[in-house]
């Protein structure tokens, strides 16, 4: 596609309409963020702010860097060798990449749900309370309380309350993913990062997860990477469109899907490429 023909406005400037809707303020700010895997640059000068209590969707074709961006937020990319970053990412004003930052504490504030359900080969109960266990919580009552609260929030409690001691691997795929959501919110984080949480699920399980995301909105700030544009349109308030490692456009979901500023965004959301 002809990149030169479009206007170049990489950074998003919130519309007035959007600013009016934003009530709770910002929680995450990304400034001039660049990332290289070895020699290959995967993110180019990404600038965006995430609003508190909203669902923000990251969309874009495969390999555009949306998952990379998401995994930078809780520093999951630290596991990768030969990674280089430049730029700033802050959460509530705290620099995520400052030297000496408490990565474990950071991850406790950001629950994460992965593409494929990844429950641990333990009982359902132990899966949900795992974040508390690693925090050193021993009190059985507290653990049970957290387990119940998280499972209820993840809309799984009624299905599993009779068999909390069963192995979590015995659950269905959709149940496993909701279990992973319950696990992610068990430590009561501020932000919930979701990396294509429905891509391995069937339509019914997907719709249950989407309902769940809707219910969790407000309590948690949710950032969701998705391939599915309908899903982004259905569940998110803000949408960011990424392409080739650049943030092309970022704005309120309705605007993005009806009258985007960028040609490429329009082409993508209408299915002309991607």
């Amino acid at each position: 596609m002809d990149a030169a023909a479009t206007t170049t406005r990489d950074a998003f400037e919130p519309t007035e309409y959007h600013q009016a809707k934003s009530s709770q303020g910002e929680i995450i700010e990304i400034k001039d963020f660049n990332l290289w895997y070895g020699q290959a640059q995967a993110l180019h000068d990404v600038n965006m702010t995430i609003e508190k209590g909203m669902v923000t969707a990251l969309i874009g074709p495969s390999g555009c860097g949306k998952s990379t961006l998401l995994r930078c937020l809780n520093r999951m990319n630290d596991l990768i060798d030969n990674l280089k970053i430049k730029g700033r990412m802050t959460m509530d004003g705290m620099d995520i990449y400052a030297p000496g930052v408490d990565v474990i504490g950071l991850r406790k504030r950001m629950g994460m749900v992965f593409q494929k359900p990844n429950p641990f080969p333990k009982s359902i109960f132990e899966n949900v309370v795992y974040p508390l266990r690693v925090d050193g919580v021993r009190d059985r009552r507290e653990l049970e309380e957290a387990c119940r609260r998280s499972l209820e929030a993840a809309a799984l409690w009624d299905e599993v309350k009779e068999r909390l001691e069963d192995n979590a691997l015995g659950l269905s795929g959709g149940q496993q993913q909701r279990l992973c959501i319950a696990r992610a919110i068990a430590s009561d984080p501020d932000v919930l990062l979701m990396d294509e949480p429905c891509s391995a699920l069937d339509p019914i399980a997907t719709s249950r997860i989407e309902e769940l995301i809707d219910e969790l909105r407000g309590t948690y700030t949710i950032i969701i990477v998705t391939h599915n544009m309908q899903q982004a349109a259905r569940i998110s308030q803000n949408t960011a469109f990424m392409y080739l490692g650049r943030l092309i456009e970022y704005g309120q979901t309705e605007v993005m899907f009806t009258s985007p500023f960028q040609r490429r965004t329009q082409d993508y959301v209408t299915g002309r490429f991607g």
């Binding site: 809780n74 999951m76 596991l79 060798d81 474990i104 504490g105 991850r107 406790k108 950001m110 629950g111 994460m112 992965f114 494929k116 990844n118 429950p119 641990f120 080969p121 795992y130 974040p131 266990r133 690693v134 925090d135 192995n167 691997l169 015995g170 269905s172 795929g173 992973c180 696990r183 992610a184 430590s187 990062l193």
Partner: protein, 576 residues
């Protein structure tokens, strides 16, 4: 005949289709026979080996009949017949044969058959086995009065019971009541056990205490110098304590003598078919049975009692007879100790290599080196173990903690501990490689899931990675165990001996004696098969011991496999 060409629209020329017959590999499986054949050869070899060991091992203890062979020259030979083989009599032997015998041999193209008899009576004839050529045999009988006697010394006796003397009263074989011999034998063995108990356990305990006193004095002399007040005091104290010990020793020795005297009064007189007889204390007899007059139940009884003796007793007669209990115990203890050492060591090393070390050239070199360590000849490990563990480490331990026992070494020579450590070193590459693979096979999503929950790296390893990798780690340990339990060469240098009736665990403080040398089934096989004076007598023991070693290794592996499968089931619940 004319061929009518089909007329139709011109078809554009296509690439000719591949003819299937041209290329076998295109549609067939040309190497299927080779694959299957290779597998079949392997299976046949393994099954053949197992059947050989099983058959020989299981049949060894079955009581066999005793044949009395009348030779052409009128002399008699009695023994258990065993295998036959064809042989070619030399010219010298031929010239000594009679005319008819020579004709028999000549009729078979100069070949003859001969049979091996276990004639026993080593003390009378200086041989245990004898080959008898078929042409020399006039008659073979199985008289019911022939007995097979297993003795504590000189191997078996084959012959007849002539008389039994109990306290000066002599009974001939004919006047013995049925069962009287067996009941007297049981009593005699009881006496023998009591003598042994007094000599080994009770007097052993007294000796142990005396040795302790002696060492205490020597320690005091070493610490404070000879003639110093402390040393003199220790000496006086030791002498004071030695007195009652000395008395106890005398009392025990007298008691043992008394039983021995009583025992010497009960003797059995055996006669062999050649007319020579032999009188000995009845307690020297381990087992006596009328070989040609046994019912199936009695045969089973002999069979089971021989197996029990084999499994629970100590060896005698240069290991060719008796049991192998110390060797079973030694093998088991050594393997267990090895696993206890190698498991944490290997797993921790692999964890560092896989989880913490930055993957790069250095780690690759380390990994290749570890893999190559598995290929170093095991005897090299034996030499290293002797030099480093026994002489350097053990020597230092002796200098520091047991100076009073020098110059006789305590830890400064081969022993159970050093053998286990040497084998641990030998098998650690196997564990490292298997553990590394198991760790690498843990899905990345599991680790990420745990890290995303705010777990530290160690918590992730401890709670998620290690449990998940445990079946693979156990597989590595099973391989290591199989290799370690079957290893003999390095052990000969670091602590395995031909005979070590003293087990590494006993009732004397500190109860576990890891410095002691020990017996090992693998070495026992080598020793019995190739180092004993009588390899023919040792051969069945080789098979039985091999069977036992295979059984022991299989049992230990089966245990580990059961544990592993139980773990595996935990992770194998269906996904989706």
């Amino acid at each position: 005949m004319t061929v009518i060409e089909p007329k139709g629209p011109e078809v554009p020329a296509k690439r000719p289709r591949r003819a299937h017959a041209a290329e076998l590999s295109a549609f067939g499986e040309p190497f299927l026979w080779a694959h299957g054949g290779a597998l079949a050869i392997g299976i046949v070899l393994i099954i053949g080996f197992l059947v050989l060991v099983l058959w020989n091992g299981i049949a060894t203890f079955w009581p066999r009949p005793v044949a009395v062979v009348t030779l052409e020259d009128g002399s008699l030979v009695a023994g258990e017949p065993s295998r036959t083989e064809p042989f070619r009599p030399g010219p010298e032997l031929l010239s000594s044969l009679s005319e008819t015998q020579r004709q028999t041999v000549a009729a078979a193209d100069g070949w003859a058959e001969r049979r091996l008899y276990r004639i026993g009576n080593y003390d009378l004839y200086n041989e245990d086995f004898r080959w008898i050529a078929d042409y020399a045999v006039a008659r073979v009988d199985y008289p019911p009065e022939m007995v097979f006697v297993e003795r504590l010394e000189w191997g078996p006796f084959v012959g007849m019971v002539q008389a039994l003397a109990v306290g000066g009263e002599t009974r001939t074989a004919a006047s013995l009541r049925p069962g009287e011999l067996q009941s007297e034998l049981a009593k005699a063995q009881d006496r023998w056990q009591r003598i042994r108990h007094i000599e080994r356990s009770l007097i052993g305990a007294v000796n142990h205490e005396m040795e302790r006193e002696r060492l205490a004095v020597r320690r005091a002399i070493l610490d404070h110098g000879a003639g110093s007040p402390a040393a003199l005091a220790a000496q006086a104290a030791a002498e004071r304590r030695m007195k009652p010990l000395e008395e106890r020793y005398q009392a025990l020795a007298a008691e043992a003598r008394a039983i021995k005297d009583a025992d010497a009064a009960v003797t059995i007189t055996l006669a062999d078919v050649g007319g020579r007889d032999k009188t000995m204390p009845l307690s020297q007899v381990v087992r006596i049975y009328a070989a040609n007059d046994l019912s199936l139940i009695e045969k089973l009884g002999v069979y089971v009692s021989r197996w029990w003796e084999f499994l629970s007793e100590e060896p005698r007669e240069a290991n060719t007879e008796g049991g192998v209990f110390p060797a079973i115990f030694g093998t088991f203890a050594m393997t267990l100790l090895m696993v206890i050492v190698v498991a944490p060591f290997g797993v921790i090393t692999a964890l560092y290599l896989r989880e913490y070390a930055k993957q790069g050239r250095l780690v690759s070199i380390v990994r290749i080196s570890v893999n190559n360590l598995a290929g170093v000849p095991s005897i090299v490990y034996g030499v290293f173990g002797l030099g480093f563990f026994a002489y350097i480490l053990g020597g230092s331990i002796d200098d520091l903690f047991y100076p009073e026992r020098l110059p006789s070494p305590t830890f400064g020579t081969g022993g159970l501990l050093w053998a286990s450590l040497t084998l641990a070193l030998l098998t650690v590459p196997v564990v490292i490689v298997a553990t590394e693979e198991a760790l690498a096979a843990v899905p990345r999503s599991m680790r990420e899931g745990s890290l995303a929950c705010g777990a530290s790296k160690w918590q992730t390893i401890r709670n998620i990675v290690l449990p998940r990798a445990m079946p693979g780690i156990l597989t590595g340990l099973i391989l290591a165990m199989a290799r370690g339990a079957g290893e003999v060469a390095p052990l000969m240098l670091v602590g395995v001996v031909k005979l070590a009736p003293e087990l590494p665990i006993d009732g004397y403080f500190p109860y576990v004696h890891l410095e002691r040398s020990f017996m090992h089934l693998g070495f026992h096989i080598y020793d019995v098969g190739f180092q004993s004076r009588n390899s023919e007598a040792g051969k069945p023991m080789v098979f039985v011991t091999t069977l036992l070693l295979i059984g022991l290794v299989a049992a230990m592996n089966a245990t580990a496999i059961v544990i592993r499968n139980r773990l595996k089931r935990k992770f194998a619940v269906g996904h989706f």
